[in-house]
């Protein structure tokens, strides 16, 4: 962390509000590209077997999937510049098939790269300070954060400097390169949790103590997959200065005691569950007390340097109210709908946060064509200080847009097919690639998302239904976060055909909960009908302003289950 030279200026062409690589970062990434190029050459020449090569390719984000290799590109805490987005588009056109898939871990996946081309792709990524390191393997993965970081009206502190500290600490961390299993960390600095911190191996929430000091609430042992758990509170308040040392202590305890005999029981959530939170806490505190904390000592100057990298852009002094925005809404109902759903309050008067949905009706959740990537880059250069974010909901965020510019932005997004007004609504579905691409999947998930989206295509009806998170996974690994969907859908194989289990009551926020099973699985064709019946029951029973999850909590799972069963007698199959 202190290897960075604070005297170095930010890299030209980078957005002012994004952490810019210094020579240390750049050299590290270039060296890794050269190293992997050599490994690929040795693999193609037969000097390395697949067994020997697999760990190398996974360390560089390269998987072998159903139809082709897949390269997962890291987008640290979901932040990227217009320049980086254009480069992602360029790579999609030159070496892939003209599109990319934004994931629930704020990353981007290319579905069709050739092994022989991957070193060149990594070189092209390095040209814009990007890489695919630690997007796979049993290491600390790309750190994720609130996609409204730095701009949210409810924010206590921008979580990106913390996430950047963690990126630097965890990158090529020798001791944690072969953990029992992968390890995911998420950071939030706001009142509302948009980073799903309670379903991560470690969730950090920036908080203030009674003395007014900034520190972290540390949550540990959350996770989805085969055995879902909501994270547990390990430390109510961790002083900022102790962050890296304390996380080092947690990882050491996990690395030492985490199970390696069974990959399905190797995540820290299982260690916490089997050992008990109090015992884990005692072990972490003992390690923390005994360890040499000097290498992880708080460096105020370094923090200052990192925080400065995320300095706000040059906002204009504007009134909170925009006559132009209000007039455009009054004159254009479609824009008014977009503004009501996809625009969020910004902490600076006169500005707004815009969510660009990658969920067109009937489309593939999270997919963007190279043309759309370029349109997003152009849009943020014109209206958003050249910065973009990827959300774990698989959408793109323009974090700083003048309210006066919202209508013009909306017109540009509309022209690029990017103005679907459904953020947070029933068709804003999280979906993993499923069996259309993924070699681990047991069933398809994208066609289910498409069918539901088409069933509820009427955006006016979607707004009437209100906030409703549907999340779909194509296997028990739960990349589509189905456990924490208000309606979760899990694709499985049953007697040689695809079958879908539905759960209700999942919640990824601070009130996190794991969904409860509705009943036996249903066929793909039946899923939209079941969802329809659940929505109709909710609409009939909800009280004013009550979201689906609130009605479910008030009435209880049994009532929803009985409702769906009644529908089942009429043919829905539950």
């Amino acid at each position: 962390m202190t290897a960075h030279d604070p005297a170095l200026p930010p890299r030209p062409n980078s957005a002012p509000t994004i952490y810019a690589y210094d020579e240390y970062d750049r050299a590290f990434v270039r060296e890794r590209v050269a190293e992997f190029r050599g490994q690929v050459e040795r693999r193609l020449a037969g000097a390395l077997t697949e067994e020997e090569f697999r760990p190398f390719r996974l360390m560089n984000g390269l998987y072998l999937q159903l139809h082709a290799y897949m390269l997962r590109v890291a987008i640290p805490y979901g932040s990227l510049t217009s320049r980086q987005m254009r480069q992602l588009a360029y790579i999609a056109d030159k070496w892939d098939k003209g599109y990319g898939h934004f994931t629930t871990r704020q990353n981007l996946q290319y579905n069709w790269p050739k092994l022989v081309d991957v070193p060149d792709i990594l070189e092209a990524l390095a040209d814009v300070d990007m890489h695919a390191i630690q997007t796979s393997g049993n290491c600390i993965r790309n750190v994720t954060a609130d996609h409204f970081a730095g701009v949210a009206a409810d924010e206590l502190e921008d979580p990106r400097p913390t996430a950047e500290f963690l990126r630097q600490w965890s990158s090529a961390h020798a001791e944690f390169s072969f953990l029992p299993r992968k390890f995911k960390i998420a950071v939030s600095g706001a009142e509302h949790d948009r980073a799903a911190i309670k379903i991560h191996d470690i969730g950090l929430r920036i908080v203030k103590n009674a003395e007014g000091e900034i520190g972290y609430e540390v949550i540990v042992g959350g996770g989805l997959g085969r055995t879902p758990f909501v994270g547990k509170l390990l430390r109510e308040f961790l002083p900022r200065a102790q962050l890296l040392a304390y996380l080092e202590a947690i990882l050491r305890v996990y690395n030492r005691f985490g199970r390696r005999d069974n990959k399905y029981k190797a995540r820290i959530k299982i260690l916490v569950h089997e050992t008990g939170l109090d015992e884990i806490r005692a072990q972490v505190e003992a390690e923390f007390a005994a360890m040499d904390r000097a290498p992880f000592a708080y460096d105020a100057q370094e923090l200052e340097r990192v925080v400065a990298a995320f300095a706000p852009p040059a906002y204009e002094a504007l009134p909170a109210h925009s006559d132009g925005f209000e007039k455009a809404k009054a004159e254009n109902a479609e824009f008014a709908a977009f503004a009501a759903v996809n625009v969020a309050p910004h902490k600076v008067p006169g500005y707004a946060i815009v969510t660009v949905s990658l969920k067109p009706i009937g489309g593939i959740p999270g997919d963007a064509t190279s043309a759309q990537m370029r349109a997003l880059a152009d849009a943020t250069d014109t209206y958003g200080f050249g910065e973009l974010r990827v959300s774990h909901e698989q959408n793109i965020i323009l974090p700083h847009v003048k309210r006066d510019d919202l209508f013009a932005l909306w017109r540009d997004l509309s022209a690029a097919g990017l103005a679907t007004a459904n953020a947070g609504l029933i068709s804003d579905i999280i979906s993993c690639p499923g069996l259309d691409y993924c070699s681990l999947a047991t069933a398809r998930s994208i066609p289910i998302a498409q069918a539901i989206s088409e069933r509820f295509a009427d955006l006016e009806r979607q707004r009437l239904i209100g906030k409703l998170g549907i999340k779909i996974s194509g296997c028990i690994n739960a990349c589509g976060h189905h456990h924490v969907g208000a309606i979760g859908i899990l694709g499985l194989e049953k007697k040689g055909v695809e079958s879908y289990q539905i759960t209700l009551g999942g919640d990824p926020t601070l009130s996190a909960s794991i969904g409860e099973l509705l009943g036996p699985g249903v066929s793909a064709e039946e899923v939209p009908d079941v969802i329809e019946s659940l929505v109709q029951f909710y609409l009939a029973e909800r009280r004013d302003g009550e979201a689906f999850i609130d009605t479910w909590r008030r009435l209880g799972h049994k009532r929803f289950k009985e409702s769906a069963r009644r529908e089942g007698e009429d043919g829905s199959g539950i």
Binding site: R43, G46, T49, E50, Q65, H67, P113, D436, R444
Partner: protein
């Protein structure tokens, strides 16, 4: 061409991923093929064992990755179709992008 088969034996083809490109390939009479229609079909255990051995050899010689036998249905014209939906997708491409993968290539749309 079809031939008399052991009714207790499910015909099989050998499927793998091409090492350099990652594309799905099938072992044919003249080597690895991109299209399932040109796959060599094993109609009994001995032929399946021979295919399996060829797959292991191709993996060992770093031509392909992850070779395995796939149960297929063989129609009257001798064309194989995987029995399991997973391999049906592998032989065709993503069901949500008919413009990509082997399905596009086979239709002459060009496989970018």
């Amino acid at each position: 061409m079809t031939r008399a088969v052991d009714p207790k034996f499910s015909p099989k083809v050998l499927l793998a991923s091409d090492l350099a490109e990652g594309d799905v390939v099938f072992l044919g009479a003249d080597g690895w093929e991109r299209g399932l229609s040109r796959a060599k079909i094993a109609y009994d255990a001995a032929e399946a064992a021979a295919l399996d051995a060829a797959g292991k050899a191709a993996v060992a010689s770093n031509r392909v990755v992850d070779a395995y036998l796939v149960d297929v249905f063989v129609d009257a014209a001798g064309a194989p179709t995987p029995l399991h939906f997973r391999e049906k997708f592998r032989a065709a491409g993503p069901s949500v992008r008919r413009d990509l993968g082997k399905q596009a290539w086979l239709q002459g749309a060009g496989n970018r």
